[in-house]
Each structure stands twice: as C-alpha cells, then as structure tokens.
Symmetry: C2
Subunit: 356 residues, 2 copies
Amino acid sequence: MIKKSIDLVDEQALKYIAAGGAVLGAGGGGDPYVGRLMAMQEIRKTKPVRVIDIDELDDDDFVLPIAMVGAPTVMLEKFPSGNEIPKLVAMMEQIVGKKVRAIMCIEAGGLNSVIPFIAAAQMDLPIIDGDGMGRAFPEIQMVSFTLAGIKATPFALMDDKGNGATFDTIDNSWTERLVRVLAMEMGGSVMSSMYPMSAKQCKSSLVRGSLSLAHDIGKMMSEHGADACQLMAETYNGIHLFQGRVRDVERKIEGGWQHGVVKLEGIGDFRNREVSLEFKNEFLIAKEGKKVLATTPDLITLLDAFTGQPVTTELVKYGLPVNVLGLPCDPIWRTPAGIELSGPKYFGYDVEYSPI
Amino acid sequence: MIKKSIDLVDEQALKYIAAGGAVLGAGGGGDPYVGRLMAMQEIRKTKPVRVIDIDELDDDDFVLPIAMVGAPTVMLEKFPSGNEIPKLVAMMEQIVGKKVRAIMCIEAGGLNSVIPFIAAAQMDLPIIDGDGMGRAFPEIQMVSFTLAGIKATPFALMDDKGNGATFDTIDNSWTERLVRVLAMEMGGSVMSSMYPMSAKQCKSSLVRGSLSLAHDIGKMMSEHGADACQLMAETYNGIHLFQGRVRDVERKIEGGWQHGVVKLEGIGDFRNREVSLEFKNEFLIAKEGKKVLATTPDLITLLDAFTGQPVTTELVKYGLPVNVLGLPCDPIWRTPAGIELSGPKYFGYDVEYSPI
C-alpha cells in the first residue's frame, strides 16, 4: 500500500499532483493544466486543502466525489464557470439527506486528479487520499466502487450555463450511457458528482493513497526531468516499453470519446522498430506488429523524451520524440471482475490481459 | 369558454376523449390507441376518473402534469411498463415537498390526452379539465404555462426499464433540448412529468375545458361518422380546407421528431387541385402551390374521408382519401407571444400567421 505523503495541498503540492496525475492519466483524463489553475486560484483565495486518510472518518460520514465528465479535448477550451460545485453539492445533499464530510477523486489521472481540489477549497472540506481507479479510465462504471456493488447514482450534472440534471438508473452501465449523451448535449464536458457513499462503503472499496502516488510521481518528475521515466519504471515496478518519434496520429471524436492511434518509429535503443498505441481517451493497448506489449488495465503513458513531461492523447503530435512507460495497475484491476470491467476484451480487443 | 361536459370518465367517456384527442392532436401527439387501452385497464381495475374544474382546488394545492415524451412512431411499438407513474409522482413530490392533489394533461391532443388518465386512476387522483395547449405541439416549451412564466422544471423522466432522471434548467428551451436527447437515448419515448405547479399558477394559465372539448368532439365523431368533419367545422368555427387522396408521403425521424410532407390530389369538389401538408410530429402548414391555406398554431387535422376517423402523421399512407379540417387554436396562441412561441416563423416558414 502507498504511504500517505501529503497532509496539506498548497500550490506547490498541487503542481506535483497535477503532473503526477497526468502520468496516471495514461494519456487520457484531460490535461490537468486548466483544472490546476482553477484549483490554485481557489486555494489562494481560501487556504491549502487538507488531505485525510479515509480511516479518519466515521463510518456513516457522507463522502462525495466531484469530477468533470466529457471529452478531454473539449475541456481544454470550455472551462467551468466556477458556480457549478456548490450547486452540485447542494443537489446531492438534498437527495442523500446528509451533509458532505469529505470530497473525493473519482479518478487520480488527468484533469480529475485536480478538479476535486476546487471543490474541497470552495466548500472548505478535506479531500480523501485515494480514488476509484488509481489511474484514469474512459467510462464512468470503471471504478473500484462498481466492483464493490456501489451505485453510480444518484448522479448529478451541472453545465457552465446553469443547467442541472440528476440520474437514478438501474445499473452503472446505463448511467454511463445516459450521462454521456447528456454531457455531449450540454456542450461536451460538464461538472459532475456521482457515487455518493458512506465512509464505510469507501473504506472497503477505495484505491488508497493515489493522491500521494500522484504527488510523489510529480515530485520525481520535477526533480529528475527526462530521467524520471527510468526512475518511475524502477520505483513502481513498471517497464520502459519504447522510445520513438511520432510518425502518425489518427483522432476522431465519437460518442463523446476521443478515439485514435499513435504510431511510433523507434529511436535510440529502439531503432528500426515500430510501435502503435490505440486509445479511447486513455491508451488501451501498445503493439509491436501483432505482439502486444501492454494493455489496459495497466497504465500506458507517453512522456516527452526531452522534457520528461507526460503527453496526453489530445496533445500528442507528429514528430515528437517520446518514451512509452508501462506501469502496473492497482491489484483490484487484476482480479477476474476487474479485468472483465476494464480489460482488453471489454474494449473489443481479442487479447488476454497479461500483466506487465 | 368551453363548458365542462364530463364529471366522471368511464370507459365510454375515455373512448370519446381519445377520439377527440386524436383530432386535437393535429396529426401528431401519437395515436391514442395504446394509451387508451392502458388507461381503460386501470379504470377497470379501480374506478372512473373524476374530472374537476381547476377552480375547485385551493390556490396552494399541488398539480402535476403527466405525459409521454418522444417520437409518436416509437410509442406505438414501445409501451410503458406501467410502473413509471408512481415513481415519477414520488420523485416530483420529493423535489417539490408536497403531495399531488390533481393530475393534469400537458397537451389535449394525441396520446397525451389519455396518458394522464392512467396516472389519475393509478394514483386515485382527480384530473383537471384543461391542458397547456388545447391541441398537441411538438416541443415541450410550447405550452400556455411558458407564456405565464412557469418553468418546465423540475422535469422528471422514467423509462420502461426503470432508469430515471430529473432536470433543473435555466429555461424551457434548454429543457426541451436536454430532455429530447435523453428520451432518444432511453429508447425514443418515455413517461414524464413536468411543469409542476400550484393550483394558483394553473388557474391563471390553463387552457380550460380541453378535456370536455375532446370528449364532445369524440362523441360527435361517434354519432356522425364521416359527416362529423363538416359538423366540427360549423360547431367550432373551423374550415373544411380540402378533400383529397394521398399521392405521396415523405417521412424521416430527425432529432427525436418525425418530419415530413403529405401530398394530396383533390377529389370531389376539390378535383384538379393539389395541397401539401408539412409536419413535425404535428401538421404545421397546409399549402396549395405557394398559397398558404392554414398554419400553426391553428389546428390542421386529417380525417379519413370514409370513416371520419382522424389520421395521424405516422399512419397516413398512399391512396387514402382524406378530409383536411382546419380548427382555430385557443386565443392564447393568437397573442404576439403565442405566435412567437408556436407560429410558422418559429418552425422556419417565412410566412405571417393568418388566423383561419
């Protein structure tokens, strides 16, 4: 288990978390840049956000995740108005009939690693060290909470114009389907709250320590630059899968997701080899010809070979030299139920999951 | 004003209302057949539904419309499960914080002239003699309640599988837009509740007597068959616009609505003339060449020339001989605000509204 490495998130710690969150985003989850700026502004206005361990809460305390839902590409250009969160929290408190005691990340990767800090600062609430993924995934039901039988609903959305909606669905896959189509109609990305739960439910299902992990990775990147790739692989039992130059990128937005393929031409030790990475918001599979190098639910992350900075699927472009880093997913995703929910077959690849 | 002509709706009265509702549907609103069967079943299980005048309620009584939202064509094949209404009513009562005292029709035309009787029978509540249109219209904001500044939200949807959603939007046009896309994703037609209001609000905005009107029209059709067309025109200041045979029908489902054109070749007194009717769920405009015979918000209704029965836009077909009946809309739609909300220009026709 990951040791808690932060108590208070100030501007510096938030920078680390955003940088580490971009690594855990596995190419998806959106670039945390805009969310980081918004969260910093809130922290400057109020005070640093307190990070707590879930065990510090009483079993019947009410815990609320906050996240942006939609296409990451849209999030870069269409910002939240800043008024969404208090309304979302009020909607959820009315439905559940309890006051929120702590904010939580639904995913530790990408934009949603920092969005909850806006909520925590605005609402003067602590944030829990953990999330539902230990990374980013493209679909709402792909969280450890689903594996624990916790419902995604009541689910609340609030767009930047002030339109709100709530859902109460028969299962988390229907939530995903209905929320996705509504988020698209609301402009492509919306502030949301889902999986409201008791601290007791959270204790039994949380991927613990993921904010600390993001923080530690971000700090490592800040201190080691381009060398951080190798260091991360060693520290977290990962693999430096490939080094190459981007030869081609295909991208399309379909059904609210960004789909595509990144083709890489080897450089350095990987000269004369070719690797392709397919993504649906997040990278799902890395292949060399027919040989599979890594697949979801393990993390496949791109890092700029010069700066060491993570490169998201919406920002990767022709000519960029990159390192491909494979990191092991949280053990919960390696259970049969975890593989069924987020493994390669779910995404239509006729491949068995083989842990890296 | 239309005199209240019914106190209790039994199976016979429901038949009349469904038949009259199909006339007021102006080609849209869905064929009331399935809804009538469901309502009859409920009435048989419980007892006839009491029809009340809105003035019988106290100002702060809570009044709730119930309706199907979606494409009429879908409603003919995808029935409600029967469990939606109690859940919808409970959702609305929780949000509003009051018990419902009476059920209301949002539109007196088509399927939604009878759907609320299912609710009234299931919930053992009276139904109000009136609606928000005095006819059927294709969009949710096209009700007298919008003209009175009453919000469509909270708006609740419940599909036949048990997926529920609620909306709280910034205006009624956003409600229309968001509800439409969700109703499509939920299968094309869903049971809904919207425009929850106090009896006081209802008294100032209701199109009164429209259930009585539907009932009287239905009775007239039952007693006079094919001659009812002429009699309705005389009784309700309408016009027998045309008699012809269907020469062509174009239909497409787009954005949750059924759009199309019906072309008619004159017969009888109308020989050697040609008329086209354009529709978006409901008939919007009747033209002879470039000459406009009638437009929304007035009612344009097709009646089978042999049986006298109304023919909806999803059932009209090649070769059918029909009468085209024009009926004046409720005076509220002839105000500048009414014309702006539902007149020909709203639907993209470069035509001034000229009352029939």
